[in-house]
Chain length 376, copies 2
């Protein structure tokens, strides 16, 4: 049977850049925040190789914003995350897990501080709008929570700096990682952040008028022609190599941020009230039961599972699940994320992947840089 098609309707909301993505040959899509997100142009391997060497423009309008504004804006944003948002300066972006009262991960957005009492929560794939609106209503907080007309367009890859300097000015080279400036491109006001869902460097341009999407795309495209620009999208191979977890795939509401290793982005016990304080304190005191780990599987190139594969210890007991997989040309190995019982989650641990009932492969737990440790 041939690979099934995707059917668009108004419910899968059209992006301001979608027409260009299709014209440039997007072959396959996923859906993210009720919006299409392209996932392949040439092939995952060709898209990856180009991204690592040149520059790409990505329609990531599906990274929707939840705007939080008003007297209680900071209090609400603080309430939903263990990260200390009071330390986020105006002009800065914080990667911050949003957790429920049990510590379950609701989303892992980037929180952008636009003003003292105005934030954009730039979300992964779950309706944080409803989450934060519900809490604000329940608490009778003095805050407005809504989805603004904001659509990010990413410019990613090593040549993105030259491209954006040509397009906007040399001063863009001074934007620090996870900071932003307000500027104008193609005659429309944008927020220009040095960020993006790859490890190849680049920017995210937050368009604030969806009627100007094609103009913005075209302006980036023209500036990129001399740098061999392609249309692209978040690339599975690259995100595995770089170690970017995907909410919904590698962590869900069933995971807490400590077992996901997200506590490298925050310190428990910030001064402000936050709803997962007690839950995370308890987990921290007891130690995590599971760990989300980097698992390297040597051997032949594997095709990723539809959903998950079981991971076993040497006696055949299931000790975890594999949640993402891509074959990396750089490491000449299958790079995987897996959620593993903590006892088996240490660097250098050998594990067995049950590849969908059709065989077994040996894997080894690595650190975040895919080092497998001295024991192997």
């Amino acid at each position: 049977m041939s690979a099934p098609k995707i059917v668009f309707s108004r419910r899968l909301r059209q992006t301001p850049f979608e027409q260009r993505a299709l014209e440039q040959g997007a072959k396959a899509f996923t859906v993210y925040n009720h919006m299409p997100l392209s996932s392949v142009y040439e092939s995952p391997e060709e898209d990856y190789a180009h991204l690592c060497e040149h520059v790409q423009v990505w329609d990531v309008a599906c990274e929707r914003q939840v705007e939080v504004v008003g007297k209680d804006a900071l209090a609400l944003v603080e309430l939903v995350t263990p990260r200390d948002i009071s330390k986020c300066a105006i002009g800065q972006c914080f990667y911050a897990p949003v957790c429920d009262e049990n510590g379950g991960v609701v989303n892992d957005p980037i929180i952008i501080r636009l003003a003292e009492d105005r934030f954009w929560v730039s979300i992964a794939d779950s309706d944080v709008l409803l989450w934060m609106k519900g809490i604000a209503y329940g608490r009778a907080m003095d805050v407005s929570v809504f989805e603004p007309d904001v659509s990010p367009l990413a410019v990613q890859g090593p040549k993105s700096f030259d491209l954006m300097a040509d397009l906007v000015g040399e001063h863009i080279r001074d934007i620090r990682f996870f900071w932003f400036i307000e500027t104008e491109i193609a005659g429309t006001e944008v927020i220009l952040a040095r960020s993006g869902w790859s490890g190849q460097g680049g920017f995210e341009i937050y368009l604030q008028d969806s009627s100007r999407g094609l103009d913005l795309w075209d302006a980036v495209w023209r500036a990129g022609e001399k740098y061999n620009i392609w249309a692209g999208c978040p690339n599975l191979i690259e995100r595995l190599e770089t170690g970017l977890l995907s909410y919904g795939s590698d962590m869900t509401l069933d995971n807490n941020p400590l077992e996901c290793g997200l506590d490298r982005f925050f310190k428990l016990g910030k001064p402000a009230e936050y709803m997962c304080r007690e839950a995370l304190d308890t987990i921290a005191a007891q130690g995590v039961a599971r760990k989300v780990v980097n698992l390297k599987v040597m051997d032949d190139k594997l095709t990723a599972p539809r959903s998950t594969w079981n991971v076993k210890n040497e006696t055949g007991e299931v000790v975890g699940i594999l949640t993402s997989l891509a074959y990396s040309p750089k490491y000449e190995a299958n790079l995987c994320f897996a959620t593993i019982d903590a006892a088996y989650g240490n660097q250098g641990q050998t594990l067995i992947v049950d590849i969908g009932g059709s065989g077994f492969r040996e894997g080894v737990v690595c650190d975040l840089k895919w080092n497998q440790g001295a024991s192997i």
Copy 2:
């Protein structure tokens, strides 16, 4: 350019029936509640014709449940909808819009009462789980809100009654519309409701153990072979003929239930507290500014727009948007849902549809049964 493919990953959660849907030739999918939902098997026209004459089994696992259980369960369910849920008996299902404090439609689920203090909210495509968890947390309500392991399998079409009588027993013919029984099929406990997202009659079987999905599908399939069963899915032509609005396409958070005509399912002013009381009272007193209407466009068979088309009055002024469209063999017309300024939303009103800048077509506002009134 050929129609783009859909790419599955763990984030687009695998359904318990998905393997069979693919084996039966599902050609295209959409995504609904972070899960694939098939949208075509043979062709929309053939699927439609078969559904109206025979029986189909549909993988609608994407109709996820939000379980609400505990001392404050009724209070929480009452809080989020204007419909009087105290009148929903145990064993009954209520179609009930969920609205925010401004009256905006968050979802239009079916609320299933399993016990005095236990409900399933069977949702359309938005994260009602986060909405209700957020409110419950904010209000410190004594209630548990979670997504249980429950996946509906629909059996739809005129022969569904004979099929289910063969499979479960003649007593299934006594289940009233929007009521349910608890029973066992293929050795697994299910909730069997007389409901479903078509006007052709049928049942929804709520599987409560996803590991038994293929067994349940196979049992239905075997019982259906003598009735010419097909695999199917919610069909656009049939839903337009029947008048079923789709959340996200025909109404969004930007619409209130009064302008959507959903007030035929509830009466304002129920005794219990509900969060949209004041907003809906105000809208009701002022009269709605817009109406979601049935719009019939004669002429040739049109291809539905990617998102919306503008609808104009006879002087060319934009007075609304068309949100869904399908050509109906039964009515020999394009049946559409459209959101129209109230002044132009009365039965018999003639309107002009701007079909994506490539021409215009005349349409007429109809009642819910597609009667266009005496004026035409």
